[in-house]
């Protein structure tokens, strides 16, 4: 049985989408069948980053009960070699669609949760996907909490920014703990991880602050900033240190029970 992974954060700009895309590509390169979904309905970005011009159906349509999930999926497997499969489900970036998703009521959100949970049967069981990866919006948005509740594992992308650390700590205690979610931290944009001692210090500090396992530490790479979101490192720069870190994370995730 496959797993649903939600990639979430307290603040925006922590690298959720970068992590989601590269982790999905890394898992697919390792032979896994992966489906990546854009659940950031207020600021969709996967279509742009993955250079997909247009989709016939969006995840919005599936959640609105207006489309089957199979019509939403776009096959990008040719980008990740022959081992695994990579599909993507996009969020509609049209202004009208964003406004529509922002105005949903509680009953709609409840049904949306049901439809996200149903993906476990339709994609993990019936279509044999190994991983569904939900790239969420930051903070306590309805769609993000729905994604967290549906997930088997939550990856929290965080930085050393003080307000992010405070917010993430609160979110872990007041959201994930209540839902008894298995959580792993990915610390992004770290300035000094050059030596083993600095890495150990960071690990000890994180363990103390968050009290959840650390999946990986990502240094602040200028190449990532220079790429302006236009490069999928796992796909285009297989020897880049960032790719190696993401590959390690993918292997660690695959080893989790």
């Amino acid at each position: 049985m496959g797993k649903i992974i939600a990639v979430h954060s307290y603040k925006g700009g922590t690298g959720k989408t970068l992590l989601s895309i590269n982790l999905s590509a890394a898992l697919a390169k390792h032979g896994k069948n992966v489906c990546l979904f854009d659940l950031d309905f207020r600021a969709p970005s996967l279509a742009t980053l993955l250079r997909i011009e247009k989709a016939e159906h969006y995840l919005n349509d599936y959640l609105n009960n207006a489309s089957d999930i199979n019509n939403v999926l776009i096959d990008l497997s040719d980008r990740v070699g022959k081992k695994g499969k990579l599909f993507v489900g996009l969020a509609n970036s049209g202004t009208e669609a964003i406004r529509d998703m922002s105005a949903k009521d509680r009953k709609w959100e409840m049904r949306a949760l049901g439809r996200l949970l149903a993906l476990r049967t339709s994609l993990l069981n019936d279509k044999n996907f190994d991983y569904l990866i939900f790239d969420t919006s930051p903070g306590l948005q309805y769609s993000s909490i729905n994604a967290v509740v549906s997930a088997d594992l939550v990856l929290v992308a965080t930085t050393f920014d003080r307000s992010d650390v405070d917010g993430t700590r609160r979110m872990l205690r007041e959201l994930y703990d209540l839902f008894e979610k298995k959580t792993e931290i990915v610390l992004n944009k770290v300035l000094d991880v050059s030596s083993k001692s600095s890495k150990d210090d960071i690990q000890a500090k994180l363990k103390d602050v968050y009290q959840v396992p650390l999946l990986g530490i990502v240094p602040c790479f200028c190449d990532i900033l220079k790429a302006e979101g236009g490069t999928i490192f796992v796909e285009e720069k297989p020897d880049h240190p960032f790719t190696r870190i993401v590959n390690d994370m993918a292997e660690n995730i695959d080893r989790l029970p």
Binding site: K107, W108, E109, M110, L113, G114, I145, V149
Partner: protein, 129 residues
């Protein structure tokens, strides 16, 4: 009330025992609801509230013991107290009480199929489009 009907006496002992067990289970369900209603502040629940959305914000505001049950049912979809108890690792009777409480609160629906009582979240029929 447990009633062994005259027809039941004419059947084989195993079938009679099954009938008694079925009646006991129904009685047990009713007792659990009655016990729940006896708790302080639960008199209002005599008339179950209908169609309250079981969304994530509601789940967050629930007491821990009910959230665990509700989360488990959300995941399974439609389940008996026994099936929920296998997920939560709590006793069947405990889950049965919590599930019945969630029904009274209007978050879940309950349906009997033969001897078994199934609980589910009625997502599609709640509210408008």
């Amino acid at each position: 009330m447990i009633v062994a009907t005259p027809e039941a006496f004419g059947k084989k002992p195993l079938q009679v025992l099954e009938k008694i067990k079925e009646n006991l289970e129904r009685l047990n369900d009713k007792m659990e609801v009655m016990i729940e209603l006896q708790k302080p502040g639960k008199k209002d629940a005599l008339h179950p509230i209908s169609d309250r959305p079981l969304d994530v914000m509601t789940l967050l505001s629930m007491p821990d013991h009910l959230r665990k049950t509700a989360m488990s049912l959300c995941r399974i979809g439609r389940a008996t107290a026994e099936e929920v108890s296998q997920q939560t690792k709590r006793a069947r009777a405990v889950e049965s009480a919590y599930l019945n409480q969630l029904v009274l609160m209007g978050y879940l629906k309950k349906e009997r199929t033969g001897r078994k009582a199934y609980f589910y979240v009625d997502r599609e029929n709640q509210g408008g489009p």
